[in-house]
Amino acid sequence: MIEHAAILIIVIPLLASFFNLLIGLWRKRLCYPFVVAALGLNVILSISVLNTVINSGTISYRLGGWAPPWGIEYVIDHLNAFILAIVSFISLIVAIYSKKSIEQELPGKTVYFYTIYLLLVTGLLGITVTGDVFNLFVFLEITSLAGYALIAIGRDKAPLASFNYVIMGTIGACFYLLGVGYLYIVTGSLNIADLAKLLPELYHSKVVLAAFAFFMVGVAIKIALFPLHVWLPDAYTYAPSTVSAFVASTMTKVGAYAMIRIMFTVFEPRFSIEMLPVTAILGWVAAAAMVYGCIMALAQTDLKRALSYILIAEVGYIVMGVSVANRAGFTGAVLHILNDAFMMACLFMVAGAVVYKTGSSNIQNLRGLHKKMPFTMAAFTIGAISMVGIPPTAGFFSKWYLILGAIAAQKWLFAVLFLLSSLAVAVVFFRIIQNVYFPPNESTPHPNPLPQGERGNMGGNPTIPPPLTGGGKGEGEIGLFSHEAPATMLIPIFIMTAGILLLGMFSGKIISSVIQFTVPGGF
């Protein structure tokens, strides 16, 4: 079975998606364990694939035995094995997390939710494993369509947000497809390895240049690179919590992977760096994204929205790392794909738990929440610290490489902007953390709680349940779990938090065993 792992990674979630529907018609309750089991199997497979790649190098799998470039080929090297492991792991964790959240937010739609969720996973994994530009387009569309559907079932303005996303996403997909078409016209091939061989002679062809431009813009829309990000904040804010957690942590990362693939595998690094000033342009765009995302995040009153804007800045970090075109920067970018996936998943899951318990993700709702949800809020704090980039959390180590990369490329301005955006992120999070642990406007919770009458006119959001009394006597007397999120939500959050703490410690190991092999030649 292991030699077919490359294709099984796609086939399992795809088939599970269909069977899930059938199972759902029969017994709704069985969907959840079925999905978790399928994705669990996928995680095992993708980790074994990663292991194989680490031990014996690139895997090439020919679909139906057709030899490339005629048949479709799946090529898994260190880079996509790494992304594969991240995506399948996060998909499993988010699936475990989804149970209660989906039951509350999407009552009666759980079966359809899981069906589309599995399709989304299929699409993301497909983009990652394939070694064929057209096949990549197909999976890109599967991803996008599933994404549109999942976002549209969210609350409030979700359908409108999803519609905006459809328009932008379709333009992106069109551009990408145009790029594929142009390359096919001049080379007659769709296989990435084959294209890499054929293209260098045609680098001066206008068609190839146009194709490259279409590729870049198309992918930039998909990863919400500033200024093509406008669809993202709305979509990720109004999507169901589970969906936000999954798409925020993986979709942009897979898009970034596709961008790296196109820039450095389909085209040679010298094309993206020297022949066209693509990396220089991307660098400035990324710098703008870092600044813009953080500043916008400062102005938000909704937690999920603030996180969405931070995500735009994080995409900027990754692209900036790629654009400086040196070993440290690229290492940082790939490492940040991993770290940011964990941080985003953690924070969006926390936001989801808050929505689950309080009904909305308004930052006001977090006020004094550490008394009721001490563990969730602790996880939030650790995620936030990592986002700011304070050691020993994971976020620091990818920033370390990213900034070293910027300095090595003599881009001092980027390094400074980077730190300033970290600073802005710190402000965003510490304002929230202060709100959580030391809520303003609330009088001192001293041993004698205020009389009821005075509590009433303290203002604030009417949806907040009255503060717990007895806080002055110490945290120990309240049942720690009595107001916490359910275990199916809390355990995934813990896993992500532990990941954030541990990944940092092991970043050296991750770099030496995987990431150093992903760096394109010539860096």
Binding site: I385, V388, G389, I390, P391, P392, F397, W400, I403, L404, I407, A408, A415, V416, L419, L420, S422, L423, A426, V427, F430, Q434, Y437, F438, P440, N441, E442, S443, T444, P445, H446, P447, G471, G472, K473, G474, E475, G476, E477, G504, M505, F506, S507, G508, I511
Partner: protein, 512 residues
């Protein structure tokens, strides 16, 4: 230099971290057990630190690499003379502060005591981490941990004022460390390829490969980024942090946190830049004059503070810059004085803060103008205050004199005679803001009957130590520690040998 590999530095760091875990686990249900963890951790920590003293005095260093994360980023401890010097000071004073803390929070019936003790323990862990760090990465890591875990302590009272103070605290400390210090760390690493402290200074070793402008910018970024040293103009977090409970102000904002700041400054001057490089660039002199401005201006501001703790805070700002001034002179005596001032100021200032807390607990007074005649009610406390104040001013036979003496000699060695003027005027200013308090406490007549009015407001006034009817001292758990630290300030004048020896070893290491 002989290197011992030992796990002891890690133990010294982690013992209070483990204690914090047990403190949180025990919680409010068994207060005495919870306090037992604090006390035993502080004693064990001091024991471990002391057990490392002998090898250090024999000229060895103790190293332990906890984790080599990636190239250039290692979690590594190295105990050298400077590190053990700071560690002894902080861990010894933690024992005393622990007892004092217990007296303080119980007398005032403070809320969230578990959080208080747990954060306190973590802060001490991180302080040890800074003291024993072998490279700038480890220093930065623990520096940030100190900031994060003292934030709840500053916000402890949860009043709007406390929250505002805590916000300013974290904005200054975290903000500057990310914006300036981290950038300086990156610049250092990209220039030198390492962050490991070296006696010659790691940037000195790559002199010639980088421009002077680069070095100057790096130095300025470092100095701006280490806001814990409270150099003007980035000092205003320290007075704001005075909203914290007094034991926090005493140990953390007179010893652990702020001394971490000046300790890191000393490390950067000696081990990242190296005295040769700094004297060639003329940055030492610039830093010395910059520190001088802080010394004078902070003292002047202290003069007009009526709140006792705020006056002490400005005094701390001024005194911290002595440490920076001393090391910035880049001469043997200057560096000795600078290092000695870390411990001598610690004993004096912690006494003064303890006194402020004792007065607050016993008499509920925070302002200096209310202290007339308090010496008759609290003679032990105010006697200790007098000793502490005299040490601050630098009058023999109190510890504070020693460090000023060395710094004065250092300024002559460095041929910076204006510095002498700074020292002289600062001494006068110190006397101006401390002696009136002593005078008022002992010689002015008692004006207000404190207990009659206060007792009605605070139903349960803490149990007081009543030796004779006229004495209204704070509980013994508070008075004994402050008397001990005051005696400590006295003893250090007569027996500074161990500390002086350690300081000489540091100087011998960096000056060849």
């Amino acid at each position: 230099m002989e290197v011992l590999i030992s796990v002891k530095p890690l133990l010294a760091v982690s013992v209070s971290l483990i204690a914090a875990f047990f403190i949180a686990l025990t919680g409010e249900r068994a207060r005495n057990l919870r306090e037992f963890w604090t006390i035993s951790a502080s004693v064990v920590k001091f024991g471990i630190v002391i057990s490392m003293l002998q090898p250090i005095l024999e000229g060895k260093v103790i190293e332990y690499t906890l984790l080599s994360i990636t190239q250039g980023l290692e979690l590594k401890f190295r105990v050298d003379a400077l590190g053990i010097f700071f560690a002894i000071t902080a861990s010894f004073l933690w024992i005393i502060t622990s007892f004092y803390s217990i007296g303080y929070v119980r007398s005032l019936n403070e809320h969230a005591q578990t959080r208080y003790f747990a954060c306190f323990a973590i802060a001490l862990s991180a302080t040890m981490g800074v003291a024993f760090s072998a490279n700038m990465f480890t220093t930065f890591l623990f520096y940030e941990i100190i900031t994060l875990c003292t934030y709840p302590l500053v916000a402890h009272k949860e009043t709007p004022e406390a929250i505002k103070g805590a916000r300013r605290y974290i904005t200054y400390l975290l903000g500057t460390s990310i914006a300036f210090q981290l950038l300086a760390v990156f610049m250092t690493y990209s220039a030198a390829g390492t962050l490991e402290f070296s006696n010659q200074g790691i940037l000195n070793n790559v002199r010639g490969q980088v421009s002077d402008t680069f070095l100057i910018i790096t130095f300025i970024l470092f100095m701006a980024g280490i806001t814990k040293a409270a150099m003007m103009p980035l000092h205003s977090w320290l007075p704001a942090a005075m909203v914290a409970p007094t034991p926090v102000s005493a140990l953390l904002h007179a010893v652990a946190v702020v001394k971490t700041g000046v300790f890191v400054v000393v490390k950067i001057v000696l081990h990242i830049f190296g005295i040769d490089l700094l004297s060639q660039l003329g940055l030492g002199t610039a830093l010395a004059y910059f520190a001088s401005i802080t010394i004078i201006v902070a003292s002047i501001i202290a003069l007009k503070q009526d709140n006792l703790k705020r006056r002490l805070a400005y005094s701390t700002i001024s005194q911290l810059s002595y440490v920076i001034l001393g090391v910035a002179l880049l001469t043997p005596s200057g560096i000795t004085g600078s290092i000695m001032h870390i411990v001598l100021h610690a004993f004096g200032k912690i006494t003064l803060f303890f006194v402020a807390g004792a007065i607050y607990v016993a008499a509920h007074k925070t302002n200096i103008s209310e202290l007339d005649g308090i010496g008759k009610e609290m003679p032990f406390t105010m006697a200790a205050f007098t000793l502490g104040a005299l040490s601050m001013i630098g009058i023999p036979p109190l510890g504070g004199f020693l460090s000023k003496w060395y710094i004065a000699i250092g300024s002559i060695e460095a041929q910076q005679l204006p510095i002498l003027l700074v020292l002289a005027s600062s001494t006068i200013l110190n006397a101006c803001y401390f002696l009136p308090i002593v005078y008022a406490a002992f010689f002015k007549s008692e004006q207000c009957q404190l207990l009659v009015s206060k007792e009605t407001e605070h139903q349960q006034l803490p149990p007081t130590l009543t030796l004779t009817p006229s004495l209204k001292e704070a509980p013994a758990l508070m008075v004994i520690p402050l008397v001990l630290t005051a005696i400590g300030a006295l003893v250090l004048f007569f027996a500074p040998s161990v500390f002086l020896e350690l300081a000489r070893m540091v100087v011998a290491g960096v000056i060849n």
